[in-house]
Symmetry: C2
Subunit: 572 residues, 2 copies
């Protein structure tokens, strides 16, 4: 008899499972239950749809050859039954039945299954922010009760935001939350012509990367005209006639025509939990290596599951479309009788922010320390191609490594240059549990239009950490240098660039001593003070520290990443 498979969720993992399963088993009875109207759409494309980089809604739901993936497509081409606008409301695991409800007709139906799949995705976290409406004094409102307050989850959200912009009802927007979605929406709304304010509660935006890179990205956004506020708490929203007009924080009041709430997602595992399926510590559905839940006839995949972080082997929540699809493929193979293992993820992320790319894989320095790793890192700002090749652009690379064994822990990348080639390399090395020695010796290809001879963003960065690990270089971050300056510590910040470079731009209070003359001027440097050397990217800074060290200066430090990673004031 044909297997009956019911898949709850029709956005990413669900349709993937259905399509792959159909290829593996042409007799199976496959059903998708989807709450929304649309299915199999590119959720990650929504910010680009809002700003009309992607013109038509259907482009988000088309196959590469332009066929719309609507319910009819699934039924006709894939022989997959689709119930959209339909919610799965109850699972009877003993009878192996799902109760579903049509959201338009409220009709209830029961579907039997041999295998059930939870592909229920994530749900938006709505913070407990209150709202008031000057036209409805005394009414207690939640933040979503005012109009023009949006989240970004499904196509309907994107349509609403796009419509608000198109109808010219919004000139200003406040984005609550400076995480990945908040920053993707920042670009989208700025491109749409809005004045954007981003308000982040934490000390820095983008918790997906470390603060030393986050601050550089924030500065970049500020240069782009975005008002980015950190360490600022939302007190309430204020509306008029039901429409949001102001965002009030502990530090100010912002007039606005729209608010986007982008404070994160959590696994949509409610129905699974209600059905008695085991839920993990992150709130995601617990699955084994085969994506099977605690019930042998129920699988789960996508943004509703908890998986393992392959770097630290801890349970983790990684709501990423790339992982959802890989998990979905594994579920399909296993339901069809195969043995496909999904081991976990690396928390790899990339996103576009104006001309910047921001990417991360593995652990950040903060995470690594929180997990008890004795970690070292490096910051290397360098061109993405041969520096003499036209169009070379800068990427700042941060590599994080376990000091005790040289094992890679993570990589982060920020800049206008090409980043995928580097983050993919580091992610692949992480997958294999690679070391920093490996990274410095990888034979990745080189030609001037594509990379530097010793790849700056991978191999050179690895070499810099190796220099740090063997103590030929002692680093100090710009953030720590700034703290010293604020505490008025007595130390020398030694700029070893040329006088010409120094004249153009310099750190206030820094001392100029070009690399070429250091050997002649050793007597001018005090031996009882800490010296921190730097240049534009800290290669010359490193050379200067070696000269000083070989002349008996002790404890000379090099400022990580030099001027390129200095996020504070500069004199011009």
């Amino acid at each position: 008899m044909a297997k009956r498979i019911v898949i709850i969720g029709g956005v990413a993992a669900g349709p993937k499972i259905a399509a792959k399963l159909r290829r593996l088993d042409h007799e199976a009875e496959i059903t998708i239950i989807e709450k929304g109207k649309f299915l199999s759409y590119a959720g990650c494309g929504l910010p680009y749809y809002i700003c009309e980089d992607i013109k038509e809604q259907r482009e988000l739901m088309e196959t590469p050859v332009g066929v719309l993936r609507d319910p009819e497509f699934f039924e006709k081409t894939k022989n997959v039954k689709v119930y959209n606008r339909t919610e799965a409301i109850k699972v009877d695991r003993l009878k192996k039945e799902v109760e579903i409800k049509n959201l338009d007709t409220n009709q209830i139906k029961t579907l039997p299954y041999d295998y059930l799949v939870f592909a229920t995705g994530a749900k938006v976290m709505i913070p407990p922010i209150k709202a008031i409406d000057v036209d409805q004094p005394g009414m207690e409102l939640g933040c979503m009760d005012l109009s023009h307050v949006y989240t970004l989850h499904g196509i309907e959200d994107a349509e609403a935001i796009r419509w608000t912009i198109k109808e010219k009802m919004a000139k200003k927007a406040v984005i609550i939350g400076g995480g990945l979605i908040g920053m993707e929406m920042t670009e989208s709304l700025v491109k749409s012509g809005l004045l954007v304010t981003v308000i982040e509660m934490l000390p820095e935006i983008l918790p997906i990367i470390d603060d030393d890179l986050g601050i550089l990205v924030r500065r970049y956004c500020q240069e782009k005209g975005v008002n980015v506020r950190v360490e600022e708490k939302i007190l309430r929203l204020e509306g008029e006639s039901g429409i949001v007009k102001k965002v009030v924080t502990d530090k100010g009041v912002y007039d606005t025509d729209a608010v986007i709430i982008a404070t994160g997602f959590r696994p949509n595992s409610d129905l699974a939990k209600k059905s008695g399926i085991e839920i993990g510590e992150t709130g995601g559905i617990k699955v084994d290596l085969f994506m099977k839940t605690s019930d042998s006839f129920i699988y789960a995949a996508g943004d509703c599951v908890e998986i393992e972080n392959l770097v630290c082997m801890k349970n983790a929540y990684m709501p990423m479309g790339s992982l959802a699809n890989k998990q979905g493929r594994a579920v399909a193979i296993n339901i069809a009788g195969g043995q496909e293992v999904f081991r976990g993820g690396l928390n790899s992320v990339v996103f576009k922010l104006f001309d910047y790319t921001v990417s991360r894989t593995g652990l950040g320095m903060k995470q690594a320390k929180d997990l008890g790793f004795d970690a070292e890192y490096t910051l290397v700002p360098a061109p993405d191609k041969a520096h003499y090749y036209p169009g070379a652009k800068r990427v700042i690379t941060k590599i994080i490594v376990d000091k005790r064994n040289g094992k890679l822990l993570g990589g982060q990348f920020v800049g206008t240059g090409e980043i995928m080639k580097s983050v993919n390399t580091v992610a692949t090395a992480l997958y294999y549990g690679g070391t920093i020695e490996d990274l410095s010796m990888l034979d990745i290809p080189y030609a001037p239009p594509y990379a530097s001879a010793i790849d700056n963003n991978v191999c050179v960065a690895a070499n810099v950490i190796r220099n740090k690990l063997n103590r030929s270089m002692i680093g100090i971050s710009a953030l720590e240098v700034e703290k010293k300056r604020k505490r008025n510590e007595d130390f020398i910040l030694l700029d070893v660039r040329t006088p010409k470079e120094y004249q153009q731009v310099r750190i206030p209070g820094s001392t100029l001593m070009p690399l070429g003359v250091i050997k002649q001027k050793l007597d001018e440097l005090p031996r009882d003070k800490e010296i921190v050397t730097f240049c534009s990217a800290s290669l010359r800074g490193y050379e200067a520290s070696i000269i000083l060290k070989s002349n008996g200066f002790e404890g000379v430090k090099v400022m990580d990443g030099g001027l390129a990673c200095w996020p504070y004031e500069l004199e011009k």
Copy 2:
């Protein structure tokens, strides 16, 4: 006492060794011997200098901050003594001395060393092509005896070619050899306004990739107006008044104003050999894992050494700037007393050809078979980003794998899309001896502007091979299909695209049966003939083959890469 290190060769590995060694040992007496006038220049940048993408010669010899790396720079900033225009003519290994000769003054000098390094690079292979000059009848000439016949090795060569173009002495050029340098020069000369003919002796250009991709690149060059000839043997060059005017082959006569000989390089290991150092089977200097030669006091690095291919563990010659620099770094660390291992290379290559990128890592299908591997491969043409994201461009991915254990053997990439992210991923997986399962499960990051959710060029390609390995898909190459057609074999070439697509362009003799109607039209298909399905990229072709298989059709094949990889005639 300070160590005395003499480095023979000052282009890539040599200066790298000197610079790194100086950072490790501030007392060492370091000397570089360089035959040419220039040192530490970007040899790989020469084609871009010729076509003036790079304007000034000094850009090829500047540090990222614009300091010229001339002998004075090395002496002043690095405390490295440089003898340029100087040849090392003899090594006395017992006395540990090198005899050097100034090429301008013929002065001879002897330098003692504690450690000697051969960084003597490669030398151009000049084929035994004869030339005649109509104005010197009866004179027997070699091909280099005529003017305007060039090789591309050092800056002097590039200057000569650029000068010939600038002085408008050349409107046409013939490039002998369709390998990497020949094709880089093709772009360079076309960009410079010349009419270019490339003549390759082998059946296909670009032996660095397999012929099924080579033919696609050749077609692309032909579309760009380049006359690319294969399987054509040069008989002789003909000149007038000492200047080349014609190239005569076994198939034709080509008028020309200049000839570039690009028939390959070999290790410049003559002095090492003369000195009694062991030479490997490839002609390169034999080195151990620490880059030490058969003499404990002599190291070697760069284009003059033989290294190991990490995929097949065979001795190999890989004259690449990226490897030269890594080897150089290892030599410096080891001379300074460290223990740095250089394990080998993957033969990773990338180069630019107009809007195409061409790249390769590991073994090709042909090499793999020659080495006795039972290899399988796939061809996947797919966009480099989410297909709906503006500016997505096509990349054709070829992955090669060992059938017996699923181990990766190599990857090749051709197309206008972004390729580095994929070739770096495959190269890294190869470095770790990874499998095709790994490749399909790698957590490389995804966002629509950068990749597809399941990365097309890595994970999807891996999945396609996995389908082939487990026999859910049987592939056949376009080249084999064309052979069948030429032999008038009775088989059905089943195009499963839409009628609209078919009308636009189709393979002559193919049969249209859109994917959506196959199930209804099974009776129209003969069960006793071989059926080969395809579509634009062969995803629908694959689905069609599954439908046919599940309906009892046996041995249905899918044409690898579909129309996108079909290099022969098309009807429009």
